[in-house]
Symmetry: C3
Subunit: 368 residues, 3 copies
Amino acid sequence: MIDPPSLVDQYCHGVLRTELGLGTFEAQLARTEGPPAPGTTLFDTQTGFAVRRWCPPLLGLEPHCPPARYLARRRELGTVEAGRRLLRGSGITAYLVDTGLPDDLTDPDELARAGQAEAHEIVRLEQLAEQVADTSGTVESFLANLAESVHGAAAHAVAFTSVAGLRHGLALAPEPPEAGEVRGAAGRWLAARVAGDRLTDPVLLRHLLWIAVASGLPLQLHAGLGAPGARVDRTDPVLLTDFVRATAGLGTDLVLLHGYPYHRHAAHLAGVFPHVYADCGAALVRTGARAATVLAEVLELAPFGKILFSSGARGLPELHVVGAHLFREALARVLGGWVSEGAWSLDDAQRVATMIASGNAARVYGLS
Amino acid sequence: MIDPPSLVDQYCHGVLRTELGLGTFEAQLARTEGPPAPGTTLFDTQTGFAVRRWCPPLLGLEPHCPPARYLARRRELGTVEAGRRLLRGSGITAYLVDTGLPDDLTDPDELARAGQAEAHEIVRLEQLAEQVADTSGTVESFLANLAESVHGAAAHAVAFTSVAGLRHGLALAPEPPEAGEVRGAAGRWLAARVAGDRLTDPVLLRHLLWIAVASGLPLQLHAGLGAPGARVDRTDPVLLTDFVRATAGLGTDLVLLHGYPYHRHAAHLAGVFPHVYADCGAALVRTGARAATVLAEVLELAPFGKILFSSGARGLPELHVVGAHLFREALARVLGGWVSEGAWSLDDAQRVATMIASGNAARVYGLS
Amino acid sequence: MIDPPSLVDQYCHGVLRTELGLGTFEAQLARTEGPPAPGTTLFDTQTGFAVRRWCPPLLGLEPHCPPARYLARRRELGTVEAGRRLLRGSGITAYLVDTGLPDDLTDPDELARAGQAEAHEIVRLEQLAEQVADTSGTVESFLANLAESVHGAAAHAVAFTSVAGLRHGLALAPEPPEAGEVRGAAGRWLAARVAGDRLTDPVLLRHLLWIAVASGLPLQLHAGLGAPGARVDRTDPVLLTDFVRATAGLGTDLVLLHGYPYHRHAAHLAGVFPHVYADCGAALVRTGARAATVLAEVLELAPFGKILFSSGARGLPELHVVGAHLFREALARVLGGWVSEGAWSLDDAQRVATMIASGNAARVYGLS
């Protein structure tokens, strides 16, 4: 009864183009610091079990079939055809795609065609800055080109995204850095840099955030789970509180991605600040059979008009599928449960489901 | 089967006396940093949905009716009559009322009459100090008058409450400040102060805590959610650990209010320290349909003799209603579930329900 | 349908040998900073209720019988016979026993005989160091004897355990201390020390961790709940992240014990680092009727091959019983629920149940 008609995946990546063996497929199921321990496999995780539940039927197999059998069928169909069947079985009608990963993944247009859906680009600030650095000779040209690139990206992208939390932690000074500071940091970075070096300088990360804020485009901030070996408490969204306050009233929306295991904190910020939104999707792919609970925890404090679905998928179309199915099922179970207890009316539940699945994203990102 | 016969609301405020339109009513549903985002409303929150569930029937309407219809009916009855019907429908038999807000809210006697219940005063330490500062000319007279005011309040109030956590954060030095420090801080504060200025100096906040501890009256400490734009981690009750240890054995009980999203930490302190109690109510009003889970999380570590119900309601009698109904229902569902699983006996469940609903509060606050 | 055939309790202690009265029994139900508050009892806790649920039937009484009746029956049988009946009713087939408590508790052999089970020793590093200090005259002999003792213990023990988190907090410098630092810290500690003094020096605590890591034996680290009056955030396993990274690839497994209320953080580390494992047992004894939820929270991020059962029991055989029964029941409810929702296959659920109950522990600790 509670089944939103369409899903906007407000944050994901493209998929790998290559054939995948059992080991290379398994390695995409989680972000880890090394191969699985002897005697263990990443298929024995919530994500692995969720993939085995939802994906085999889309390729003509029974749910929960063994990984080797699934991979054999996937190879039989070929990466392209398997990807088409999976993406078209996800129910996702629009993908917002972060194109800023170094991996060779399909671009938004390819994802759109494969999935028979819309796709829009999200520009990753740090990667943009690294590209500009690769082609700028001086500090002055770097900063000018960066400003121009952000301006240019704002014309075609639907959002910016920042991984400052994963690169440095979210305990960043909340105010914009002074121009002199920025020039100094840029000079040091460019001087020490070899092509391909990643941007981790906190002054430049803050500079990027503030030029993105000035663009008016929604700004997505990674929080919670992300860089596997880093201290997860350094990405607690509560650390963004002062930055959030500093950006209030400027007309730019902030979207807190992921959040888990601090998703209740992200929901709190979405409840307090008019310009803050909370993601409720990427954590579901990680927590699988627990998706309903994790979703419900976001629904405690976040106003229902401030919650956005995403899959956070990367590399495997299976992750888009799992993100979408776990979300739909969790939403139906959580909201349906509240309806059957009498806590919510059915009308309200259906209205809220549509808001979270697509309506809020359409409003925030200006989708038609 | 599990339905406590009476409820002591161990922490709430009075209600507004004025007629409320849709917008002014909505603004009371949450503490935020600004008006709702375009396209969103605070009615679309757990609190908003809970109000629409529980309150319309008390005014003769169907549950979940639209906000505009509810507000129209409320105006038709008038603020006073609507308030009477709501409060009398809450099942609350005693209100402990924090009178220290600047808003024009009904006082404990008015609340008692409207709700046909008992009411007792909780004195807010910071507001008491601000009132004393308004009428004291020198540091010496300020400190003497403050001591006398606390002493006087202890004679008629049932508890003190401190918002030191919301004003400064709970990372306060745990020991009492030295007399010289207090005089210095008081001097600086009084010299810089204009009438109405709020007390935020950490030395004076600690001084207040310790003169309250010396009074022997239970001391309620705000923790977790509270000041909307502040960093919520600064009110994690774990930050009170050293203060709690410093006050052990002095004969004064400490009550940790709210706690969410750190309510498991508050429950832990209530489990470890004989003089610490945990509130389990105010978070329910905020989390609505999730109340049973949040209550159950408090019930993990807090001994059942150390848990107290409150509504935390402020401004709207609807919030007293919602607090009471969500609590009763959550209690029945959580404890009833444990009984039906065989984990608890029915006798134990009924006994614990009565303790949390009223018995513990009666013992801690010396109610008859 | 989901009922693992055997249980390895990967972390527990022995039991008291003395007869216990109502008060001495009650005092074993929780670690607190003082006797229960007036009007309250530690029987009115999740642990107390779980003991009353699971243990009376093993002694021929009805579940939930009053504490006084249970204690009378226990005395009637005698401590030894009651202990035998309880331990044999727990379903635990192997106990890994931390022998490093000062209390007079049964040793692993006695526990094995009483419970008709295997038992293996876990050596507590800090206690080992204290014993060595009691018998070493100089810094050089202390450090040499310590190295030899750890080496010797590694030959017969199945694991080391460290309570550095409870003694100092887990915010320890991640790298091994320099030899000169260690000698300096040892000199200061030995000079100031009187026999029986506990080791709390952070340099020596780190030295112990690193000589244990060098032994190759699994190293258990206490995290989360533990020292009752200490700040629980100082034992958040997230604080171990840098130490975990520093020990990656050295061939020594790390097992995070307890974890609650930060068990999601422990599960995250177990998911990211191949050599990290997460305990899922001790928290269940503390949270009783909430065990299924707490277990499910661990199952969100921890790979299923990285989760280990323990009771964490100490002093009372009732706690071994409760640990085992709560775990089995929680496992059956959580995994069974996922099977009935279609999220997991029954085969997978049974396989994972066996892994967590005993298979993972057998592999990590090299049990036959």
